[in-house]
């Protein structure tokens, strides 16, 4: 099968799924119960996000209030990560492009990477790294582990800095590969576990958003 035919088929399936979803919902046949069948975990009650304060890659404050007004996808990673982080940010870029194309009437969600390596990932480092993937993406970091932990703990994101010695500068950071979804009210809404497929993520997000808007 040629690649373009495959992509066309995928798009056709995606469009049919979203059309069928819309029709079924209008007929009252899509409900919160359908969220149980998604691979995403949608929280029964969206969770309030407690105060935290980080700095974005442009040097501006980003806190729990900054989520309000738009959906946000939040991933946790670090810039010296060769495989998972660039791969997830690329998945998020494909998602952003597809959402823009398929839902031109909707605001594009925010896409955020929170650094779990604040020592190496300064604002300056993030300012060079994040726009490589997409100019509208947001990178967040802090000045201390406490600042980072204030968001990772409540988002349920474990991470572990594995330095081989105190002066090891090439250390790896083990971290969760999950992507969290925050709703426009600023509450934690759903969790997507790795591995991530951009088409599936977009489809599930569109359904989650649709149901949330009807409630």
């Amino acid at each position: 099968m040629s690649k373009s035919l495959f992509i066309t088929l995928i798009l056709a399936v995606a469009i049919s799924v979203s059309l069928v979803g819309t029709v079924l919902y209008q007929q009252g046949r899509v409900s919160r119960a359908d969220l149980e069948n998604l691979s995403a975990t949608v929280f029964r009650t969206p969770r309030t996000i407690s105060p935290f304060e980080l700095t974005d890659h442009n040097g501006k404050v980003f806190n729990q209030e900054s989520f309000k007004g738009n959906w946000s996808f939040v991933f946790f990673g670090y810039t010296n990560c060769p495989d998972i982080c660039p791969n997830t940010l690329s998945v998020m870029n494909v998602m952003a492009n597809n959402l823009e194309k398929n839902h031109p009437d909707k605001i594009i969600p925010k896409f955020i990477m929170v650094s779990v390596d604040h020592q190496r990932d300064t604002v300056e480092v993030l300012s060079k790294y994040i726009p490589y993937f997409n100019n509208s993406f947001i990178g967040l970091t802090g000045n201390s582990s406490q600042q980072i932990d204030a968001i990772t703990k409540q988002f349920g994101i474990p991470y572990f800095i594995s330095k081989k010695s105190p002066d090891d500068e090439k250390y790896e950071v083990q971290h969760s590969g999950a992507i969290l979804l925050v709703n426009p009210q600023g509450n934690l809404h759903a969790l997507f576990s790795a591995p991530h497929d951009p088409v599936k993520l977009d489809n599930e997000f569109s359904l989650i958003r649709y149901i949330h808007e009807q409630e």
Binding site: K3, T79, D83, Y129
Partner: protein, 153 residues
């Protein structure tokens, strides 16, 4: 004695041929993820096919373009994604090993100079029988690739 012509043709074959084979190891889709600015590490991926009836063991990899290359597998353990270093890449007789995003890959440390998409980089594999072969990897900016489609086409 090896003639200059033979030597030259061997050289051409090694560096130009799109599907390089050494003994019975074939490599396909060999690519390096272009590193985002500030990142000192990146990954290389490929499909390694063993056409021989004996297993092949890649014991090390090296490149003039990087200070160090290691074999790693990305694993999910207790909710944490981490990378486990592997001593070798083992390719069973008539089998294949895929080095792919979020799976087994080569981790490339400290490029000796900035490497941009489109460049071709030599990576030399050393095998357990002491021989070695150089393969060509293409550097790609992978921010718009859907790997889940890419892997199954």
């Amino acid at each position: 004695m090896l003639s200059i012509k033979t030597f030259f043709l061997t050289f051409i074959f090694l560096f130009i041929s799109p599907l390089l084979t050494a003994d019975d190891l074939a490599i396909e889709d060999a690519w390096i993820r272009e590193a985002p600015p500030v990142s000192r590490v990146q990954a290389a991926y490929a499909t390694l096919k063993n056409n021989d009836k004996n297993d092949i063991e890649v014991t090390s990899a090296a490149s003039p373009a990087f200070k160090k290359i290691e074999f790693h597998t990305t694993t999910l353990k207790n909710g944490l994604m981490s990378m486990q270093q592997q001593p070798t890449i083992h390719i069973a007789a008539k089998g294949e090993v895929k080095l792919e995003p979020e799976g087994m890959h080569m981790m490339l440390f400290d490029p000796t100079k900035p490497i941009r998409a489109g460049e071709k980089i030599n990576i030399n594999f050393t095998f357990s029988n002491g021989t070695s072969t150089t393969f060509l990897f293409t550097v790609k900016k992978a921010t718009t690739i859907n790997h889940h489609q890419h892997m199954h086409h």
